[in-house]
Amino acid sequence: MINPSSPSAAAAQEKVITDFQAANPDITIKKTNRAVDAHKDALRTSIGTAAAPDIYDFWAGPGLGGELVKNGASADLSAQYTEYKWPERFTEAALGPVTQYGGYHGVPWKLNGEAMYYNKALFEQAGITEVPKTMDELNDAAAKLKDAGITPIEFGGTVNWHVMRLLDTFLEGYCGSDTFDKLVTRQANWGQEECVTKSFTNLQKWSKDYFNSGFIGINNDEASSLFFNGKAAMALEGDWFNAQIKDKATKAEDYGVFPLPTGTGRMYGFEQAMYITKDSKHADAAAKFLDFMMSTPVQKETLGKFSTQSVNKEVKPTGTDELTKSWEGIFADAKGLYMNNDQNLTQSQTTEYWRIQNLVATGSLDPAKAGAEFQKFLDSSK
């Protein structure tokens, strides 16, 4: 499994396993946690071998979970969906990612949204009275923060995908949802869309003027500490960040969250699912555990630890804190989802996307050439 985002999430994960084993003494669950990149690496290497796990936790997007489905790593769980009545248990939004490849691949575990967290005091200090609702207002807010001597946003750049969130946001905001989807499915040309250049140009502006200094040489934990310590005003994070704020910040009420103001109405996010390996010799026991994990009582108990919303339609958020309530609104208002581009693109395309993103972010590539550079790679790869 992927490392939990906070100590309380880790404890919740352990408790689910302990409780299941107490109720099912004939089944033993052995859990291995890994960091994000290490998990991608280890899973791809072990899948299809005797070292493959019975259950694996993975992202459901075509570039990640989809690749494993395509390569026959995941079992089609149609029989288990019928047996456990899972189609009736999960929300429509949660079922979409596990049915997109035909049949049922994976069991929805958590649907995460990503949005902009902000420090209320720093916004006030910079004279920002309302959270940004358009791309222009977002740019203005960053400029005001900078003028007030505050680092507008923190990013750790060593593993690339954090900065990618902002570039994805600019692409959705400046290109619109239709063009965004065409770009990531190779139906539009990255080198010929003006909005791509506009997005890269804005990325360069933000990285030069609004990011924490030296962002690309530090990791996300180091960068996040700037947010928790009040040294940076914004953080582009997922709803799992609520738990981190509660664990790490002195007062959670000092922080707020607002949807990314792309103007398309779509929420930025992704789903993680629990997949059963095609060659698993313990598929029945694995399904039984997943049924327990996504059951109403367990989902009620763990809600808020991994995400603010449950994939189980019977489980509604009960948190009364402002961050949880804000997320309820973000999910309720969302008119669809646009996914992180490392989920949309293949691994090699993602690597090149990140290279170009970082070249632009570090001022080493003219933003006007970035789209064409990426298109060149897309054209030369399969």
Partner: protein, 321 residues
């Protein structure tokens, strides 16, 4: 050492005679090779299985297209991976250039530094053993630990260089961004490599210095040679075998550098500090293009052999016959 003694000696030495090579079978049986074979066999078998086997497998896979999944068939594509690598891969030539820069700098900086430290600590100075230990310690630390340590030192928010900049009133320290600068990152990582390996080279040179004839050094000094002349004409020639060993080990260390780059930048920013070993790994295990990954590994193998084979020939020459 005068001309008077040298001339008669020359006349006494017979002209070198070309010794005909013995048949292979006789050369093999000479010196108890057959008797030694049972003792060599386990190591030889392990070498074939764990070194030669994977090498052959890597070269073979470089001619195939394969995603690495067991269920996915390996498709023979000939030299297509090499063509893609040399003509289309946007990172390969950066990685190649960085690897070459790394090897060249390694042959100069950590070797010279190691030699200088060895010469200094070969003298009976106060605290000599302590200094030797201190300089050697980085060589036994795990590279990934060194990478983390140096990454913290380079941190623009709280790193040692940032703090020094503040102490010297050179701004708030946030401008110290060695690992974030695509032009500087590779050199910033290389500094950690020098710190890691110079002490190791020092130990090798110290061992070599023990073989330098004290009598020759004394004789040269009695003849009035300066320290530089003693080093140039007596010490350094005697150290030549050690220099070659250090050079070869340094080349090998440099070519396969991986951990430090992974730990400090992951090849970034924007692949600017990418090296061949890491790019091969990334292609295979992160991008799941095992054909390309192994094509890079094969290029790396070829480069290594070109650099190391001359040494192997040189080092085995003395053992023949």
């Amino acid at each position: 050492m005068s001309k008077l003694t040298a001339a008669p000696l020359q006349t006494q030495v017979p002209a070198p005679r070309k010794i005909p090579k013995k048949p292979l079978l006789k050369r093999l049986t000479k010196g108890g090779f057959i008797a030694a074979l049972p003792f060599l066999a386990p190591a030889l078998a392990a070498y074939v299985v764990f070194v030669i086997g994977p090498m052959v497998s890597a070269v073979r896979l470089s001619l195939y297209e394969w995603s690495g999944f067991n269920a996915d068939p390996q498709v023979f594509v000939g030299f297509q991976n090499y063509v893609r690598l040399f003509t289309q891969d946007p990172v390969f030539w950066t990685a190649m250039q960085n690897t070459i820069i790394w090897v060249l700098l390694s042959l100069v900086i950590p070797t010279t530094l190691g030699l200088a430290m060895a010469l200094a600590l070969n003298r009976p100075i106060f605290g000599r053993n302590l200094f030797r230990s201190v300089f050697y310690i980085p060589g036994v630390l795990a590279p990934i630990a060194i990478a983390n340590m140096w990454r913290w030192m380079y941190n623009p928010n709280y790193g040692v260089f940032s703090e020094l900049a503040k102490a010297w009133h050179l701004g708030d320290g946030s401008g110290v961004t060695f690992l974030s600068d695509p032009k500087l990152a590779i050199y910033a990582i290389f500094a950690a490599f020098v710190w890691q390996i110079a002490g190791l080279n020092m130990v090798l040179f110290l061992a070599g210095l023990q073989s330098v004839s004290k009598e020759l050094v004394e004789a040269a000094r009695l003849d009035g040679a300066t320290s530089w002349k003693v080093f140039r004409h007596v010490t350094f020639p005697a150290l030549r075998p050690t220099v070659v060993v250090v050079m070869v080990l340094t080349i090998v260390h440099s070519i396969k550098v991986f951990d430090l780059v992974v730990g400090m930048t992951g090849g970034g920013p924007a692949q600017s500090s990418q090296v061949l070993a890491l790019w091969s790994y990334s292609q295979s295990f992160l991008q799941h293009d095992f054909g390309m990954g192994n094509a890079i590994a094969t290029v790396l193998l070829a480069v290594t052999l070109v650099l190391v084979i001359p040494y192997l020939i040189w080092s085995t020459k003395g053992n023949e016959d």
